[in-house]
Amino acid sequence: MEDKEIKNVMDEGFKPEVYFCDARPKVVTPVANKFVRKFYNWAQANSLWILAFGTGCGSIELPPLYKARYDVSRFGIFPRPTPRQAGVFIISGYLSVKTLKRVIRSYEQMQNPKFVLGLGSCTVNGGMYFDSYNTINRLDYYLPVDVYIAGCMPRPEALIAGFNELKKLIKEGRAEGANKYVENLDWYKANQKKIIKDWDLPEYNW
């Protein structure tokens, strides 16, 4: 940003519509050439970079996953600090409404190809917080989920199995979560707005 722009921001306040791309996202169609497509899928499957956003209790099992004991970096899995660099979003367990808002924002900031892993019971049907007033019950109403992993908590081995499943799906070209989100954007947005009461986000931004 130019100095002048900064001054504008300071004077007039922040206007998201000026600084964020508010365009509707587009469906990413796979490459037509079979061999190139296969190569792309292979490459994508072997560099799954996780967004380091611990959204729930499941995040306690993520450090062991990255660290010496399980050391998933040998499988091409690595934590990244910012959504712009990450390709996999692990929703580690329950999501409170307040976090969901940040999660949506982070998810939309992630670049394609991007995938979502749902961890534990809470993402499927509310888990043990099914009757809580502040946690969502099923994640697939708000974000497209590619793979679910059972457990509360799942052991890191189960997480690795989840990544293997995700890799398999990517290699077969079936991990279409991001496209699903784009295709059903209105439905997802309507669901999100229904529970996020103070909606102050742009429709879509990245």
Partner: protein
């Protein structure tokens, strides 16, 4: 900052030479520990579908669902748990509470799928790779959350009760009843086992919540003989009680007794008995004032019919009065219970024997409906030589005499033949009459004895000796002693009832000397009156009835209780009485239509 501080971090380099912590093949290398709580497994043979796991699950993750190939059966609801892994938190409370111990958890923990609707499965039924896993979390005895021990009933000491006909069981105190009632899991498996399908969990809850008046009302909804049943019922419900699989069942009978013991003084008031009932001009006659007949009278009265009971004896109660000794069911209890029933406005004709004093045909024609519940009052005699010897008695007649207040002198040694509850009543009454030695002869082993285990146990405490696999073949008299010649038996192939048939061992005869010998091997029905009204009977002498509606071949005549289905316990008779009331009402209100669809 010293040089040491700069250099010492480099000492970490020495770790490069160590074996790394890393697990080479994460998924296959390390399976869950022996106690790991993974996915559920269920032994579907052991599981009885009681739903306790569903109740304790704080996540509402468990549903009880019908599951092929399991179907409902006695003591098994036919339901099996279905677990939603979108809810489960792997706490294993369901495993720790499982009354049968069927539920467990495998140490398998990996399950990934892209489809969120897959996460529901029935352990033990759906094919999963961990279905037959042996490892994993299983409930141990110390982790079981339920209490396997029944609250003991305070009873008179064997030495005291041997000499008196006073009631033996003293009844629960308040704390004991609360303790016992709180053990109930409210699964309701027992309701099916009870012939009259009492709402057992409901009245147990009433006890727990200290609403005894409500409890009494619940009892009288299904059983007007609750007070007697609370003492002498064979408690089939306790046989299927879910807690009985790994411990002692709930003392349902004693809890029922606890309600009635604490409310009998105000019973009519609580139940609103004596208040006007609906009145109908239809008249019904009931032959035989036993449990079955009186139950039918009670409920038919509630329908509003005018009831007349014909009773052979001078008192009502039937086998409850004449078949059950006073130490189990005091006569005053029976009297006050029958009075409650009569207070609804029932007319009774005592000392009238239908078939002799008045003809059944006549009753059938003058009344709108007839319910025959004469019971099975005749004792069976053994087809052996010497049955008419002096000193050989028939069990039911013997009990009848005691009930009438006689206290016959039995001599020093008494032999009782038979293994049913009547035999137990006889031998224990003999002890109370002063016999020094009482011996029970039974032709099978203790496992096959039809008498309640409790009764056998108590008889043993009172000093009754048991002689199994033996049967008398001949009785003669020598001087003032009876010579009972017996033969040893062995168990052969199972017969139609599923019990192994006893076979005599040739040449194993031996002789026992005794003063009295009581035959308590069964009863039969006296159905001579049936011919008067052309009612069909079966070859066992019982009335030939439709097993569902209790109707005989003569449309307005119904029969039930022991005389309908053969000798059985009191609760069965009560159930029949209730059923008869329902179908007689249906017969009278819907003239001509079939009683069941």
């Amino acid at each position: 900052m010293s040089l040491k501080d700069v250099l010492s971090p480099f000492s970490a380099w020495k770790r490069t030479l160590e074996k790394p912590f890393t697990i080479k093949k994460p998924i296959t290398e390390r399976e869950g520990e022996d106690r790991y709580r993974g996915f559920h497994v269920n032994d579907i043979e052991k599981c009885i579908g009681c739903g306790t796991c569903e109740e304790i699950c704080q996540n509402e993750a468990i549903d009880m669902v019908e599951s092929y190939p399991i179907t409902a059966n006695k003591g098994d609801s036919g339901l099996r748990p279905q677990i939603d892994y979108g809810r489960c938190c792997w706490c294993a409370l369901c495993v720790d509470v499982c009354p049968t111990g069927s539920l467990g958890m495998s140490n398998d923990y990996i399950w990934v799928t892209p489809n969120p609707d897959e996460w529901v499965f029935k352990p033990g039924i759906d094919e999963k790779e961990w279905k037959d896993d042996d490892k994993g979390y299983r409930r141990t005895e110390e982790a079981w959350l339920l209490d396997p021990e029944q609250e003991p009933m305070p009873v008179l000491e064997p030495e005291v009760r041997k000499n008196t006909f006073k009631e033996m069981a003293k009844g629960y105190q308040v704390t004991m009843a609360l303790e016992e009632a709180s053990r109930c899991l409210e699964c309701g498996i027992c309701i099916e086992a009870c012939p009259t399908h009492m709402d057992i969990p409901e009245y147990i809850r009433a006890i727990r919540e200290n609403r005894l008046e409500d409890g009494l009302k619940i009892l009288y909804d299904t059983n007007p003989f609750s007070e007697s049943c609370g003492r002498v019922c064979t408690a089939r419900c306790q046989d299927v009680c879910v807690l009985g699989h790994n411990g002692e069942p709930i003392a349902i009978r004693w809890l029922k007794r606890y309600i009635t013991d604490n409310t009998y003084e105000k019973r009519n008031e609580i139940l609103g008995i004596g208040k006007p009932l609906p009145e109908s001009d239809k008249k019904i006659v009931i032959i035989g004032g036993g449990p079955s007949g009186l139950t039918a009278a009670f409920y038919l009265r509630n329908y509003g019919y005018q009831i007349t009971i014909y009773e052979k004896h001078d008192k009502l109660g039937g086998m409850l009065r004449y078949g059950i000794p006073e130490y189990r069911l005091p006569k005053e209890v029976l009297d006050r219970e029958i009075k409650t029933i009569l207070d609804t406005g029932v007319e009774v004709k005592y000392k009238v024997e239908v078939g002799k004093d008045v003809s059944l045909k006549e009753l059938q024609e003058t009344y709108d409906a007839v319910f025959i519940s004469v019971g099975a009052q005749k004792g069976t005699e053994m087809p052996i030589e010497g049955m008419d010897t002096l000193g050989v008695l028939i069990g039911v007649d013997f009990l009848d005499r005691i009930a009438e207040g006689e206290r016959p002198d039995l001599g020093e040694k008494v032999i009782v033949v038979g293994g049913g509850n009547t035999a137990m009543d006889v031998c224990r009454s003999s002890v109370r009459l002063g016999a020094k030695e009482v011996q029970v002869l039974y032709r099978r082993t203790e496992q096959e004895m039809p008498a309640n285990d409790e009764e056998i146990e108590e008889a043993k405490e009172e000093g009754v000796k048991f002689e199994f696999l033996t049967s008398p073949v001949k009785i003669s008299r020598k001087g003032d002693k009876l010579q009972v010649e017996c033969i040893r038996m062995k168990l052969g192939e199972p017969d139609s009832s599923g019990r192994r048939r006893p076979v005599a061992i040739e040449g194993s005869n031996y002789v026992i000397e005794a003063d009295t010998c009581v035959m308590a091997i069964g009863q039969k029905v006296d159905s001579e009156m049936a011919q008067q009204a052309n009612i069909k009977t079966t070859r066992w002498g019982t009335f030939d009835i439709d097993p569902t509606t209790l109707q005989t071949n003569v449309k307005n005549v119904f029969a039930g209780g022991d005389c309908g289905f053969g000798p059985d316990d009191a609760i069965r008779a009560i159930a029949d009485g209730k059923k008869a009331a329902y179908f007689i009402n249906k017969f009278l209100t819907k003239k001509g239509e079939p009683l069941i669809d």
